[in-house]
Subunit: 146 residues, 4 copies
């Protein structure tokens, strides 16, 4: 991470720095809403891969016959995201259910929370639908439970 | 699980057909969540441009000194979106407030509603923040108010 | 600068209309280069799916154990692509080799050719590398050979 | 940069690590061609912003009344890009002309060059077309000239 992260979040929060690009910005000169949602998904993707030693969405799908489809997401936008600074994410786990997980990815610029995405994802085994979270996944996520 | 089919929605609902592409799909063989959100934003973008005779997001930003930033969006995902069929959107206006607008874009495949995105957008004039919706915009959107 | 208009191209040229969106445009108010490349790939994707009765990139990958990876692409940009008009593509086949295919997707606005993407794609069978083009693919593409 | 960069490239080469994501990958389980082109553009964007102390594409467009539109790009793809490893770019300047610049962004995984994008960009002043490269830009890029 190239920039100091906001210091009012707990130590166990995962941090990810997204490299804002010219192509993420729209004619209004700020980041396009769709680019922000994609950046937040990328932060969650990275978090998951990092805390599970590589058993994130890609490995789940390609190697493990599993997946974590989104059942829901919502985003509150507080202030515009500039195109000339990185977007520092904090990622937390908001819920560890029997078969589902809640994530929150908050995008910060200059110590200000610009927007926050909350999701509900369901753990599935391919061809068998919803499954209880495996122990390795629950253990990896537990330290980040808000 | 299936909701009412597109043929059963009122005549004043706007329809937009998104061309699903290989690049929209992820290693699980279905449309990536971020691609779906972007497709729904594109449907709203198109709707707005069409019903206002070209005074949509692009013209607002580039020619009219205005904008409609997102204050909120939420998405409920009901069933996976396949990569081998188009994604047919219906777009409705869910709210016409003093300075804000609610949109709903629902993505359909084979007469089944796969997901629905709801947004709250605020009308702004550049450098002056929130503004009452101009008459031309209110008049253009009113017929699509659900 | 303007090349021959779309009405002057042969009848066997495939046409695809890409819906330009606000999110495709950058702070300069024109379409971002990366969005243009993606739009041209989408035009080729659509062309391939349409002329093969659905055996395009998605079906090749998911159902047929095949693929058409890019070996090369090049793009010449002639004039900026505006954000307030659709981008009309013509797609042609420039080469039908033993194991490879050349495509050209040209993006037009207001009867002017804005840019042209040329590609070389190789036909592969999964796990076996390059393969001769199957007859059904060669037959589907032949009418579009420039 | 999170990972060691390939060590057979010259010291003056700029390095950028792109965080490969699940959404960059297609149903074949490898990075989608369009995502790779976008990643390479992002590497050039980052390079330019870094070596000019922030006067990259975004600042040029939003603050400096300038721009660097693409006149040409070409890409040679050598080997597929995996979804479970970062994509490490090296960026070089291949040409410093009177009004144009050549860039090369090469994407590496595990010390192997997977693909290489070459571009020709023209420096423009808004409303006045092509301009000689300003001294600050030429000086910033010269050390990276291959």
């Amino acid at each position: 991470m190239s920039q100091s992260a906001p210091d009012n979040v707990p130590a166990e929060v995962y941090r990810y720095s997204y490299h804002m690009g010219f192509g993420d910005c729209d004619p209004a000169g700020i980041a396009y809403t769709g680019a922000l949602v994609n950046a937040a998904l990328r932060a969650i993707d990275r978090f998951l891969g990092d805390v599970t030693a590589g058993r994130g969405w890609y490995a789940m799908s390609v190697s493990l016959g599993a997946g974590m489809p989104f059942a829901h997401l919502d985003v509150d936008f507080v202030s515009p995201v500039r195109g000339d600074a990185d977007l520092d994410f904090t990622v937390e786990v908001t819920r560890l259910g029997q078969t589902s997980i809640g994530f929150r990815a908050t995008g910060w610029q200059r110590s200000e929370a610009c927007f926050s995405l909350n999701s509900v994802n369901v753990f599935i085994s391919r061809g068998e639908g919803k499954q209880p979270l495996p122990d390795w996944l629950r253990a990896a996520l537990a330290p980040y439970l808000a």
